[in-house]
């Protein structure tokens, strides 16, 4: 049976408790959001003792479910002021799943703010806390190396670490998760959850799953059959079987630029003349020329394998990917057309523990202020390092796009709910604009992915430059994404699921065979809806209203080249995205 590990950071007490029956069908994002909803006062200080940090693997994590190793980290966000679930790849979810841990819940905070702690969970389930004050201020890579040095020979463990940005309480701080080689390069980046981890004095979590087998299934034979079907679908489909494994997520740069939807120079243009030089196609060529790796999974059980390592001109590891969102944020959005410069910025963010989306958008507004020039990679790196050093913009950059934009009097600040917009301009990709505006997370690109025939029907008819159909599509995508996040599935399973009916069937068959509960398509979508209900109600109680479900005014008032369009979805239509919440909430017994 799955259990919850509770860690009180005020007195360092560690307790285990059975997963409550009401949450037995929850994992991942559904569980983090349910816990935050129930246990965190909505108006509390995100960096205070009343906030919790919840780390939850998906419902299927630890099993052999293909691409089922995603990790959810939740809390009240210091960036948005609302609820936050930030999703990461890496090995930790697999380890937690094998240990039978449904969630780790950190509450309280130590009286001594200089103290640093590491939670270690051994393969036998024993959990202990140790002081690691000497690691204060160390980067994620150095911390990961220090942990490796402490572990016994032959151990198999994963790490969750907090960089100096989180320790400093920066609102753009993320949390690093180690990949299969132990590099701390997978991130729960968004929403400032690193600052929450830092507020609790938590520097690192070590999870050993040495010699642990996968969890038992209620029906082993049925589970094996379902994962076989699911895996075949992922390998067969051109998105998960060809496009992503070959080029990674950065296959999108050329496409979005061609569509006029690649935000360039702080969202002032939709096409970037440096798109080809920073594209996934070019990234693959350079990586292969340098002897780097262009295809591997970020966690055990990944069959899509869209991860890759960027190596420097000497062939030495620099960072992961970089992923599309990072290439956009420090590339097109900053006018930088040099993948090495982008990778250096990515590595620096990774080591500091800063969200690359937030920081690239922050750099974009800083460049827009005229303090440094668009396209100047060296100046961008110096500006990024100023968060812990000398010069401008300094510490304010660590608090993200809105804080930096206001400090330097920038007119166009691309944020929703105080969080930076990611890599798709909502004027040329109007459906993304609906999701950005209304998601419970603050502007978030992963809040809207797929399933159901309804999505395909609507998605088959919409025009990216017009408002019709966008609300319905966004609503269904957000529900489906919440469901995938709850199960711990990678969002890139979405299109095989859309296009190959057997793949969708296989998801509820895996859930049913693993848990022994009854699952079907309706139950899966209900899981997504319930997750969103917790998030929506929390945000309402935290003081958010319809006025927070809006894009910044310039998206409606300033035309975006080359299509010269504005965001056209009406406020009234945006307010209907979550019209299912009252009915579902009532069914859940929530007022």
């Amino acid at each position: 049976m799955r259990y919850i590990l509770r860690v009180n950071m005020s007195d360092l007490a560690i307790t285990k408790e059975d997963l409550p029956a009401k949450w037995e069908r929850y994992g991942g994002r559904a569980l983090t959001s349910a816990v935050v909803f129930e246990e965190v006062p909505p108006t509390s200080d995100p960096l205070g003792a009343e906030n919790v940090l919840v780390i939850a693997p998906g419902l299927l994590s630890g099993t052999n479910t293909p691409n089922g190793g995603r990790l959810s980290i939740g809390a009240k966000s210091p960036l948005t002021g609302g609820i936050k679930e930030s999703n990461a790849g890496g090995q930790a979810a697999n380890g937690l799943g094998r240990l039978g841990i449904a969630a780790i819940i950190f509450s309280g905070k130590p009286a001594d703010e200089s103290a640093r702690y590491m939670l270690t969970i051994e393969a036998d389930g024993a959990a202990s806390m140790s002081r690691v004050d000497e690691w204060a201020g160390e980067g994620n890579y150095e911390t990961a190396d220090a942990i490796k040095a402490l572990r016994p020979e032959g151990d198999r463990c994963s790490t969750i670490t907090n960089g100096p940005a989180g320790e400093a309480g920066f609102k753009a701080a993320g949390i690093a998760v180690s990949d299969m080689k132990g590099y701390p390069n997978r991130f729960a980046g968004r929403g400032g959850l690193g600052a929450v981890m830092g507020s609790k004095g938590l520097k690192a979590i070590v999870i050993s799953d040495k010699d642990l087998s996968t969890p038992e299934h209620a029906d082993k034979e049925a589970f094996s059959a379902a994962i076989k079907t699911f895996s075949a679908a992922l390998k067969e489909h051109p998105v998960s079987g060809q496009g992503l494994p070959t080029y990674g997520t950065n296959v999108l740069t050329n496409i979005l630029s061609e569509a006029g939807g690649l935000p360039t120079r702080n969202f002032s243009n939709g096409s970037f003349e440096g798109a080809e030089a920073t594209s996934g196609e070019r990234q693959r060529e350079i990586t292969l020329e340098r002897g780097g790796n262009v295809q591997h999974g970020c966690h055990t059980g990944c069959v899509i394998q869209c991860s890759r390592y960027w190596v420097d001109k000497d062939g030495k590891y620099k960072t992961k990917g970089p992923e599309y969102e990072t290439v956009w944020s420090f590339g097109a959005n900053c006018g930088i057309n040099d993948l090495d410069a982008i990778a250096e910025l990515d590595r620096t963010c990774g080591d500091f523990g800063l969200d690359t989306i937030e920081m690239g958008a922050t750099m974009g507004v800083y460049m827009d202020s005229g303090e440094i020039a668009f396209g100047d990679g060296a100046a961008a790196l110096a500006a990024l390092k100023s968060v812990f050093g000398e010069g401008k913009p300094g510490r304010v950059m660590g608090d993200g796009t809105e804080a930096t934009g206001k400090a330097f009097n920038v007119e166009h600040i691309p944020v929703v709910k105080h969080q930076a917009l990611p890599a798709y301009d909502p004027r040329s990709v109007q459906g993304m604009g609906v999701t950005y505006a209304t998601t419970t997370m603050g502007a978030d690109h992963t809040a809207g992915y797929t399933v159901t025939a309804n999505i395909l029907k609507v998605g088959g008819d919409i025009d990216p430059l017009k408002p019709e159909g966008q609300v319905e599509l966004s609503r269904n995508l957000q529900i489906a994404t919440a469901m995938l996040d709850a199960l711990g599935l990678c969002i890139f399973v979405a299109f095989p699921v859309l296009d190959i009916p057997e793949a969708f069937t296989a998801i509820h068959e895996m859930a049913q065979a693993h848990t022994g509960d009854t699952w079907d398509v309706d139950a899966l979508m209900q899981l997504g809806k319930e997750t969103l209900v917790y998030e929506r109600l929390f945000n309402e109680r935290a003081g958010m209203g319809p006025e927070d479900d809006r894009l910044p005014a310039f998206f409606k008032n300033v035309e975006l080249p080359p299509h010269n369009v504005t965001f056209q979805v009406s406020d009234a239509d945006l307010d209907t995205v979550f019209d299912f919440v009252p009915e579902v909430a009532a069914g859940m017994g929530l007022a």
């Binding site: 998105v239 496009g243 080029y247 496409i255 080809e276 196609e281 998605g459």
Partner: protein, 121 residues
Amino acid sequence: MDSERTVIVRMFGLLHSARKAAGLPSTVSVEVPEAGTNARLIALDLELDTDIIEGVFVNGIVFDVDHAVMPGDRIAFVPHGTPGPHRLYLGLYRAGQANAESEDSDETAVTETESDTSIQD
């Protein structure tokens, strides 16, 4: 080549790699008839595998591969394999569906059509 009759053609993803592997550029200018042509004919002249094309950008908007192309246009072929919701939001899914329907109904007519397109790398 008459510059007033040229079309800029870009090829992404697997189409890009296939061109590079053959020692060919992934961006070319082609000359098209004054009355225009369609994207499929351009793809065939470039010896692209049209089966793997999901959609074609024509001046920044996604269409199916039989869409008209006029002198002065800029086009880009996109193979199947675009991740994320963009495949829906940008219209690539819609284009792929239209391609499949078109190929079912009129594949022979297209392949027998004589092209009037000349290519310059």
